[in-house]
Symmetry: C2
């Protein structure tokens, strides 16, 4: 493969994904707001763009992986981006954003003669580097077929949720909501155990070897049991952003989600207490505090 | 093995457990409040007792598996029960009850010259029939060693949580709390997906093949996706009882558990609406109602 594709957004996830694409034989034109992060990929053979629009090729594929809805909209609205994708270029949008944003941007691309696909993914940077992401895909059928080789270079599984690009974002938000819910449940359970004189790690060990023997429970369970929330795999402030999107999406369709509301306040309290850049499993520290338990020395 | 042990409480779980003990070669003296349920085991060779006390043998082991704290206390206080266990008989209490009840009963047994062990177990009747339970064990060391062969005839794993019998009950309550939390999270997530036009089963399928590939999520996820909550594997009213015990235990150690409080109200609303005998995954119907979604025709 020597197809040239664009790649925008080189945070921890983007770096790892772009590396996987280079490894799979793609030529990349990369862009990042902070240029220094692009240099590491330049050393691996990527071409560095000065503007997001330069990463888009006429009729080509450009992947984006940015922090939030605002960053994604800024890319799409940047000079030349939509114009350069024409005709029939594909913007493969892999960030975790609101379904509302996805639907709006899909319309905008269509008006400009290009295609927007939503393809948010589950997995941390190490999974991205190993091409082991789980990818939710939605949007126009022909474009979804065209991006299969790109997605196969990034993920171990691709799940198609139909034509509405917002659908893929909803599944991604549902998954992150399930993860946050599992962490809240573990945080409350382990503090109850500790206050009753039990060993947090023994309880976690039992439950995650038996009923909950899956990496989400095992890995986050270990962090919560050990009260160890740095370095951050996924920052609490980003976790808050996702739960905020869940609630915003639920409001749009008039649906109360009391567990999401609980998580919203929990994560927001953690940020208020200066823990926004810790791993989002640090929501457990707020549970400890409210239980009058000892916090780890930082 | 031809050791005779007592077995009290022949509900769905107790029936299956008693059958496993018979299969392993134990002679059983069984008791159930409703005698008819004991007859099925009599056909398999068990002796039927007329009083709980008759199931206890001097210095022997008696297993109990009943619905709640009140039923367990009624057995222990029934005429002759504590007297007949003496000297050094073991009451292997496998019901899901409060740690407070376990600690109180352990003292009472000790005063009467016998030993109370807490050994609550995870698993449904089919797991009990296949000797595949996961068992949490706590209490006096020598007695824990003596009951190992009995527990091995029932479970695939035995986890020791020390001398305090209440500790095993806490781990069991933590596990059930985690299961209920996972169901609430799935119920909210799938209703959000449905209200956005997605197929509930497609979303569940994706999430439980990837991040949450464990039977708890797969089995309850399927029931919640399909809005199918009968027949009950575990009744909503029993689920409520367990969450109530979680909150009672948390109050005892002065610890707020907001997610447990949410589940408490959710399950109680389901009971108020006449769903107490449906499977506890029926908590999802309350989520559907609050979202203005269609309930399944019953």
């Amino acid at each position: 493969m020597s197809e040239t594709i664009g790649f925008i957004g080189l945070g921890n996830m983007g770096q790892a994904m772009a590396s996987s694409l280079l490894k799979a034989g793609y030529s990349l034109v990369v862009y990042n707001r902070t240029r220094s992060k692009a240099e590491a990929l330049a050393a691996k053979g990527a071409q560095v763009a000065n503007q997001p629009g330069e990463a888009a090729q006429p009729g080509g594929i450009v992947v984006s992986m940015v922090a939030d809805d605002q960053a994604l909209e800024a890319i799409v609205m940047s000079p030349g981006f939509l114009e350069r994708l024409r005709p029939n270029g594909i913007h493969l949008s892999m960030s975790t954003v609101s379904p509302i944003t996805s639907r709006k941007l899909a319309e905008l691309h269509a008006k400009h003669g290009s295609i927007y696909l939503a393809a948010p993914a589950f997995g941390r940077p190490d999974a991205a580097a190993a091409a082991k992401l789980w990818i939710c895909l939605a949007g126009a059928q022909a474009a979804k077929e065209r991006v299969q080789p790109v997605l196969k270079a990034l993920g171990q599984g691709i799940f198609d949720f139909g034509d509405d690009p917002g659908a893929a974002n909803i599944v991604k938000l549902c998954g992150n909501f399930l993860i946050a819910s599992a962490m809240e449940a573990m945080a409350e359970a382990l503090s109850l155990a500790e206050k009753n004189g039990l060993d947090r790690s023994a309880v976690t060990g039992m439950l995650t070897q038996t009923l909950f023997s899956t990496p989400i429970y095992q890995n986050y369970g270990k962090m919560i049991a050990e009260k160890r929330h740095t370095p951050a795999g996924f920052q609490q402030k980003l976790g808050f952003k996702d739960v905020h999107l869940v609630i915003e999406t639920a409001e749009q369709v008039t649906m109360p989600m009391p567990l999401a509301s609980l998580l919203h306040d929990r994560l927001l309290a953690g940020i208020a207490k200066g823990r926004g850049e810790m791993d989002w499993s640090a929501l457990s520290l707020d549970v400890l505090e409210n239980a009058g338990l000892e916090l780890p020395r930082s």
